[in-house]
Amino acid sequence: MLASSNPLSHVIQHTLFTEAADWGPLTPEGTITLLSDQIVMMIVAGALLVFLVPLLVRKRAGTDDIGRMVPTGFANFFEAICQYLRTEVAEPSLAHHTDRFIKYIWSVFFFVLTINILGLLPISSVSPLFGLHIGGTATGNIWTTATLAILTMLMMVINGLRLGGMHYVAHFCPGPLWLAPLLVPVEIIGLGAKVFALAVRLFANMMAGHILLAVLVGFVLTAGTSMGYAGGLAIAVPVVLASVAINLLEIFVAFLQAFIFTFLTALFIGMSVVFHHDDDHGEAPAH
């Protein structure tokens, strides 16, 4: 399989079980994926989070009032991230709504991060040795990132309407009423663009790094095929070094993209539920 000349074949989803279905654009290949390598990794990520995080939360320094407020061990690292996301990412955007949405914000971050990190493990290279076909990066799948982005959009719209009501609807026409026919479609397109950018940014970043690695490793195979064993090994040395460097970069990107996705989610939800004129009671209305 590695002999395949197309590096994309190494990073895309590989289905394990499919069922024929015709749901139009929702099933572009005429099948519905029941299980794939990326879905397995997503399940693993979900299971890790569901089982490990509640255990981490219980790690406290003591049982008295003060001890229960102090995390210990790895829980310090975990809680420091939670605290940072709450005060530095969510609060500037969500203001007094922070604690209402922080559970969703934390979930998004750790879900995306865990999937990104798991995607860096060479599971897909090792699993065939045990007769399994799992591995891959679920966030390197546009359907997965789009689902998460659409969930963010739903959070924006539903909570915007629920908490802001007509204030939120009025946001779709920020100018004079006679400009509404122009502004409302633009604002609606803007909402879609936000979601689209959110989905594509995560998907493209996760996929690009993996494609780069596949291309690099492909050089070894090409050299091995055309120049023989010695040639392959000679090329392998710089490729391995470069791959290590790219892998380190990928670790950074895994954290960075999880952060950006979370930051933008908080920002977009904040734009829908926090209305600045709520805080401008002392100022003259700008009519």
Partner: protein, 189 residues
């Protein structure tokens, strides 16, 4: 040889899939609604489970800690202000006490001066009175002595005169003669 290279190279790839359909199309947007549904289900489970068993306790702990820190800072600020106020009060009391102590010492000194002055005055007056009394007694003693001396002088003069003139005088002439002698003696004395 190629198998060895493949095995080595494959370990470098984090996400190379070996699924049976690997030779298929390499569409970067591969996937379908199945992926979306799985994402929805798994992410939904993560949000629900962690929301109940992880995020809730963490949020509660963070909020309690924030509240505790805020209360502790407010209490520390209040304690510091109380301490400053007490310090000011104690300083004022100390200054007042020092002033009072100085006043008491000054008053004591003044009283002592007054007592000293009074004792001196009393001693002086006592001494003066004693002196006056002594002078009066001396004067009295002098007068008495002078009178006795005059009497004695008169008797002596009478005796002498009697002896000289050998003439007996009667009592009235004798008395007259004595008084004349005293008068002459006072004139001369």
């Amino acid at each position: 040889m190629n198998k060895t290279l493949i095995a080595l190279a494959s370990l470098m790839l984090p996400n190379v899939a070996f699924a049976s359909d690997a030779s298929g199309a390499s569409n970067p947007f591969a996937g379908d609604i199945g992926n979306a549904l799985w994402t929805l289900v798994i992410f939904g489970c993560v949000v629900l489970v962690l929301g109940k068993f992880a995020w809730g306790p963490i949020l509660s702990a963070l909020q309690k800690r924030e509240e505790f820190i805020r209360d502790s800072l407010a209490q520390a600020k209040k304690d510091r202000e109380d301490a400053a106020a007490q310090m000011k009060e104690y300083t004022e009391k100390l200054v007042a006490a020092r002033a009072e102590a100085t006043a008491i010492v000054d008053e004591g000194r003044r009283d002592a001066e007054a007592v000293k002055h009074k004792i001196e005055e009393h001693a002086k007056s006592e001494a003066q009175a004693a002196l006056e009394r002594a002078k009066r007694e001396i004067e009295l003693a002098k007068d008495t002595a002078v009178k006795e001396l005059f009497g004695l002088g008169a008797r002596l003069a009478t005796d002498v005169a009697s002896k000289i003139i050998r003439k007996e005088l009667n009592a009235s002439e004798h008395e007259r003669l004595v008084e004349e002698s005293i008068a002459e003696l006072e004139k001369t004395g």
